[in-house]
């Protein structure tokens, strides 16, 4: 029995170490669409000289906020580091940490996620894809580490699926170029958002973002991503409940929902048409400006 177990442990140890490292390397370096975007945002963080306002979130953010326009409006340097919904709060958390590491001067962190984010499962895959050091792994609880490892086959699968799609994505105005609307008819499902679908665990990493910002004296603002007007109008009770849950984490929440008219939709129900990005940036600026802080203000106080 002892010999059997020793060999078994040796077999699996070699497998875990070798395949773990190999898949980690491949995930971080393959050219699949999402990792391409992640690396693009990472490079942007490293190359930007100064950041006052950092935007983190998913594609609703990537398609809604023009950081140049926002910088102009706020007279502060801002940067849009949107990933996608797959990364969730988990990816936003890691992006925040890495951005803050390179830019300790950051004052405001605006997190914008699509409205149905509360209904999605925890994204350990998103967390794994954005880890930057062993500390990111170590800070997880034991249960989370198990979930993290459970995603192993998902990571490998995603490499396989994207290995052949080795093409660079076109980045257009800070984010992935949108598809033609006719090519993505499935992205236009107009459904009421349902309270019953809310995942009570989803805010785990949002709570960590809040804690991180509090510990590092960062001004955190949460605002929901824009959404098709029909979905917004049908989802009042969902919005109230989701906002309440988000507020409970202690984040400053802008509760207003920016709805998108049918004609303003891009390639999804939560994507603004690219040519209207500046216009919607102004709308968002109007909503968040009273929450923004800047060093000058603080000095004045």
């Amino acid at each position: 029995m002892g010999s059997f177990l020793r060999r078994l442990i040796l077999f699996f140890s070699i497998a875990i170490v070798f395949f773990g490292l190999a898949s980690y390397y491949l995930i971080k370096n393959n050219n699949e669409e999402y990792q391409f975007l992640y690396r693009y945002q990472l490079d942007k963080i490293k190359q930007t000289k100064q950041i006052s306002t950092l935007f983190v979130g998913d594609s609703s953010l990537g398609n809604a906020i023009d950081s140049d326009e926002f910088s102009r409006l706020s007279s502060q340097s801002s940067i849009n580091c949107a990933l996608t919904g797959l990364y969730g709060y988990e990816g936003s958390y890691n992006i925040l940490k890495i951005a803050h590491k390179y830019h300790p001067e950051i004052e405001n962190v605006v997190i914008m996620q699509t409205l149905d984010m509360q209904t999605r499962p925890l994204s350990y895959a998103g967390y794994m894809r954005t880890t930057n050091s062993a500390n990111d792994f170590m800070e997880l609880s034991i249960r989370e580490k198990i979930y993290f490892v459970r995603e192993f086959s998902y990571y490998v699968k995603s490499i396989r699926l994207n290995y052949s799609a080795n093409k660079e994505k076109i980045i257009e105005n800070d984010y992935i170029q949108q598809a033609q609307r006719k090519d993505v008819p499935y992205a236009y499902v107009v459904e009421e958002l349902n309270i019953g679908a809310i995942n009570p665990e989803k805010n785990k990493f949002l709570a960590r973002i809040v804690k991180y910002c509090r510990n590092n004296n960062l001004n955190l603002i949460y605002i929901n991503g824009p959404i098709h007007e029909e979905i917004a109008s049908r989802s009042d009770s969902y919005v109230d409940t989701a906002n309440k849950i988000i507020s409970e984490t202690g984040v400053q929440l802008v509760s207003d929902i920016v709805s998108i008219k049918e004609n303003d939709l891009g390639d999804s129900v939560d994507h603004i048409r690219p040519d209207l990005k500046k216009e919607y940036t102004i709308r968002y600026y109007e909503l968040v400006k009273k929450y923004l802080k800047n060093r000058n203000e603080r000095v004045a106080m």
Binding site: M1, S3, F4, L8, F11, I14, A15, F18, F19, R150, F152, S153, Y154, V156, K157, R160
Partner: protein, 478 residues
Amino acid sequence: MLFNSINFAIFLPIVFVLHWFVANRSQKLQNFLLLVASYFFYACWDYRFLFLLIFSTLLDYLTGIKMYQAENQRIKKIWLWLSISINLGFLGIFKYYNFFVSSFTEAISQFGLSVNSWTLEVILPVGISFYTFHGLSYVFDIYNDKIKSEKNFIDYAVFVSFFPLLVAGPIERATHLLPQIKAKRFFEYSKAVDGLKQILWGLFKKIVIADQCSVYVNMVFDNYTDYSGSTLILGAVFFAFQIYGDFSGYSDIAIGTARLFGIGLLRNFAFPYFSLDIAEFWRRWHISLSSWFKDYLYIPLGGSRGGTWKKVRNTAIIFLVSGFWHGANWTFIVWGALNAAYFLPLLLTNKNRNNLEIVAHGKYLPTIRDAMSMLSTFGLTVMAWIFFRSISVRQAIDYITGIFSISVFSMPEEKPLTVLVLVGIFVIMEWIGREQQYAIANLGARWKMPLRWGMYYAIVVAIFWFGDKGQPFIYFQF
């Protein structure tokens, strides 16, 4: 809890360690642990049906004792029929009730009459066909004085619900499994390693072969009117590999898992696609079910004794019942009938036991004649599988009609090169290992450890590489 899920990968080592390190002082404790683990395993599907499983276990346990204690044959028979009626009653309600009602309604409507359809919204309890047959084999064996009734409920309950075979077999016999459960078990290194290898091969068959084939199969069968005859042939051939990889893969995992606990289960597949005729195919495909039907239905009906008519009747019954066992749909019945039609000429010409040996035994390659025989047998089974896979007999006929069209000579619209390569590698590995219990049982046995482990790692990589979110096994629905 699927065998190909991370939950099972956590569950199995825990039960293994508890079985050999915590409960190893007493065989009773080990059995109790296996029972609790098996019920937990089953409850992970749907805890409500656990009560049905326990009820079914209790029923056969008690009727077994009553039958064994019966003073005369008449009382024994009463208990036997009570068990049969209740067991098959449950199976009938959960699995066949809606089929009978809707078939009756349809038949009536042919005469211009209409009746209210009294179909029920019932969920099929997973594994009901398997554990019902376990229990029935036990009461039949007591009735036929082959075994004594089991007094220890825990031991009996483990026999019925031992988790590796609970939901999709192999369908065990009390004569084979119960003595192993009752005996003191000792850990054997070679058995445990063999078990792990069989689990690994089972996972490969399921995840790399069956699940990869299923993508193409689903695409073709769901849109069969859009494809040429050549694509339809590929779809049907891939389904043959899908169902084999799926079901025999499950059996390999089940047998391998049981071996980790020192328990040997019945062999369920013996490289059926290398059969030289249909009779041989049925000796190699789902062996535990075929032998169950042979022992508890075919032989009691008279077997091959009696006149030609009786032989034909009994054989036809076996195949039709076997088809119906798979599911409440006419497609399965036609599948069974078609296999009977393949089998009967062999039986009637006394050629059904011509091929009892392993093909090309001790040789690298088959003779041309053997190769042709294997190909033609495979072709016949593929034709029958079309009925098995289709959602209606109409669809199966249309599918076959589509194959026999001029478009069969065109190139397939979809060229699944990856799947073809995988199936090719799989067939080669199965051919190399066809004289063993499973393909990789002896593969690399004489190699040095790094090379041998390299092969295992290659299989592990393939499993992860092609692994999707765990897809359920086809046979869970039966």
